[in-house]
């Protein structure tokens, strides 16, 4: 990139992306913020023309969302669920990536493909498969293990299992790809110094992997904060999952079942804000990782 600008061409080439960004990202976000600051005001009995008006209420809806007990219990559930999913999923992904990268395993290709396979299974289908595997009448697991997987406390673990199953392969692949890009000489030097495979993994590989681990963690946090598909799909099979189990399910219910768009908009902004706060580190990683080239 020694030469500068080629007139209008770069802008022309970027027009589709910018148009789509405006229509499907910027405008909807603006519209959500606008909706979040309104509320329906009912005067009199709420009958007749003009009895229901939209009024500007500023941050009232946000205050209501932050004070909503139902939402808080949703946050607590998702916090517990998310911590479990993140720890187990990323822990296993890291373990598998390191094992695959160490030169000492058999069947590496087969196991790598097998572990990545669930990535090709849609969340709905994954939840459905596991959901049936949790049912006493069908489950081969229940023959061995006498646990009610869909009970009030166990259902969180059961759901976390679905998310771990679906996500471990993709995260493993991200970490494994990063590991393969490291020059092998680095390990040879460590080996000559007498380091064991385990020491190399802990002292050399994990530090190099750190940016990739942060990246996968942040992506997983964003996904987990808005968990929706798994609890929604599991609901028909279990009566222990409420319609407001996760914050996003509450948003859906507010918007499409009870018809309170304004609360739904405010709550979705709160969810987004929490994701954004957690994502600050991510932007730094992206910059350091690939765009030093300027």
């Amino acid at each position: 990139m020694k030469r500068s600008g080629r007139g209008a061409w770069p802008y022309l080439f970027l027009t589709p992306a910018i148009t789509l960004f405006t229509l499907f990202l910027a405008v909807p976000i603006g519209y959500t913020v606008y909706l979040a600051m309104l509320r329906t005001k009912v005067s009199g009995l709420g009958l007749g023309k003009g009895a229901r008006r939209e009024v500007f209420v500023g941050f009232d809806n946000f205050a209501a969302a932050l004070a909503d007990a139902e939402l808080w219990s949703g946050w607590l559930r998702v916090l517990g669920y998310g911590a479990l999913v993140l720890a187990v999923m990323l822990g296993l992904a890291l373990l598998f990536a390191l094992l695959l990268d160490s030169a000492r395993v058999r069947l590496a290709r087969f196991t790598r493909i097998a572990i990545f396979l669930p990535y090709a299974v849609p969340g709905v289908a994954a939840t459905l498969l596991w959901g049936f595997l949790y049912l006493p009448s069908l489950s081969p697991i229940r023959d061995v293990l006498d646990v009610d997987f869909l009970g009030a406390t166990t259902v969180t673990y059961s759901m976390a299992n679905v998310a771990v199953w679906g996500g471990v392969g993709f995260n493993m692949l991200v970490l494994y790809t990063t590991l393969r890009a490291i020059p092998r000489d680095l390990y040879e030097a460590a080996r000559l110094d007498g380091a064991s495979e385990f020491q190399i993994a802990v002292r050399v590989k994990i530090p190099i992997l750190t940016p990739a681990i942060i990246l996968t963690t942040v992506f997983s946090i964003i996904a987990t904060v808005q968990v929706f598909t798994e609890p929604t799909t599991l609901r028909p099979l279990s009566n222990t999952i409420s319609s407001t189990w996760s914050p996003l399910m509450k948003v859906y219910r507010d918007a499409f079942v009870t018809g309170d768009l304004y609360s739904a908009a405010a709550t979705s902004i709160v969810i987004a804000a929490i994701s954004l706060v957690l994502s600050f580190g991510f932007l730094r990683v992206v910059r350091n990782r690939a765009f030093g080239e300027g």
């Binding site: 990139m1 030469r3 600008g5 080629r6 770069p10 080439f13 970027l14 992306a17 910018i18 789509l20 960004f21 499907f24 909807p28 976000i29 519209y31 959500t32 094992l99 160490s102 030169a103 000492r104 395993v105 058999r106 069947l107 196991t111 790598r112 493909i113 097998a114 572990i115 396979l117 090709a120 299974v121 849609p122 969340g123 709905v124 289908a125 994954a126 459905l128 959901g131 049936f132 595997l133 009448s137 069908l138 692949l173 790809t177 890009a181 092998r184 904060v225 808005q226 929706f228 598909t229 799909t233 028909p236 099979l237 979705s268 969810i271 987004a272 994701s275 954004l276 992206v286 690939a290």
Partner: protein
């Protein structure tokens, strides 16, 4: 998947003894990941009677009946779901790849006022959770009378910030500046350079972007779930959900649901196994070699 395999790797692999524990751990992981898929493969072969009576791991005799019954379900609505999914995932991923490749190329190979601002803005989109978008997108589509249409599911999924990010990395590594300069000296215009020089060089990266987008749209549940009311426009994910919601309390329908689940994952698994070498997450490493 990573296909980097140098002579050094092979030497390293051959030189040391095989570790039993690491291999066993990986096999356990593979077993865990394959188990539900194998189970549904077997369960879908069972007739409703066999499903509850025969041993879990023995094949049944009802597979063809199940498939026939599924295709007959509500006048063949399953076919529609499959067709819709193909349209959303195929069309969406194709458009998305084209937009990402051109944008990535432009951001990597041109220097112009506002470039960094535009890039940061587009990339910031990665951080916007689907939840803030889905509801207003629905309302805005309703206003122009397009909610509950194919467009409402197709259009919002074309812009994919992460793909633009990947395309930019790939373009930076795969397209030599000297080639573009040579083209310019030969009098080629910018459009021609983009379409005839840059895009062909980006094809391997574009296949990867296409695959990831295809899977993402195929697997998407929230957007079509919110946008669509008419089940003739549902993709498989939403269709399967309605099938489950209708049949969860009727064990007689379980074989239908299981067969539907199996048929909806088979195409993706096939795509996945046949396109092995394109499944990689780091586009900068594959490009320059």
């Amino acid at each position: 998947m990573a296909t980097v395999s140098t002579a050094a790797h092979r030497r390293a692999r051959a030189g040391r003894p095989v570790g039993a524990v690491p291999t066993a751990l990986l096999l356990l992981g593979a077993l865990y990941c394959l188990f539900p898929v194998c189970w549904v493969l077997i369960a879908a072969t069972k007739s409703p009677g066999e499903l509850f009576s025969t041993a879990t791991l023995s094949f049944g005799t009802g597979f063809l009946d199940n498939v026939a019954e599924l295709f007959a379900y509500r006048d063949g609505v399953f076919w529609l779901w499959a067709g819709n999914t193909l349209l959303y995932a195929g069309g969406g991923a194709l458009l998305s790849t084209a937009v990402s490749a051109v944008s990535g190329y432009t951001l990597a190979k041109y220097r112009f006022p506002g470039r960094d601002a535009i890039f940061n803005l587009l990339i910031g989109g990665i951080l916007v959770p689907a939840v803030v978008l889905a509801i207003p997108q629905y309302l805005l589509f309703s206003k122009i009378g397009l909610a509950d249409s194919h467009w409402a599911v197709l259009l919002p999924q074309i812009l994919h910030p992460y793909s633009i990010y990947l395309a930019r990395i790939y373009a930076a590594a795969a397209i030599p500046d000297s080639l573009l300069e040579a083209g310019r000296i030969d009098g080629a215009g910018e459009w021609r350079l983009m379409s005839r020089v840059a895009m062909p060089l980006m094809v391997p990266g574009m296949v990867t972007i296409f695959l990831f987008q295809f899977v993402a749209i195929w697997n998407n549940f929230l957007l079509p779930f919110i946008m669509l009311g008419d089940d003739g426009k549902f993709p498989l994910t939403v269709g399967l959900y309605t099938l489950l919601a209708a049949g969860a309390n009727q064990p007689a329908l379980y074989n239908l649901i299981l067969t539907g689940a199996l048929l909806s994952i088979v195409p993706l698994i096939a795509l996945f196994l046949t396109m092995q070498r394109y499944w990689k997450t780091d586009l900068s490493s594959g490009a320059v070699k």
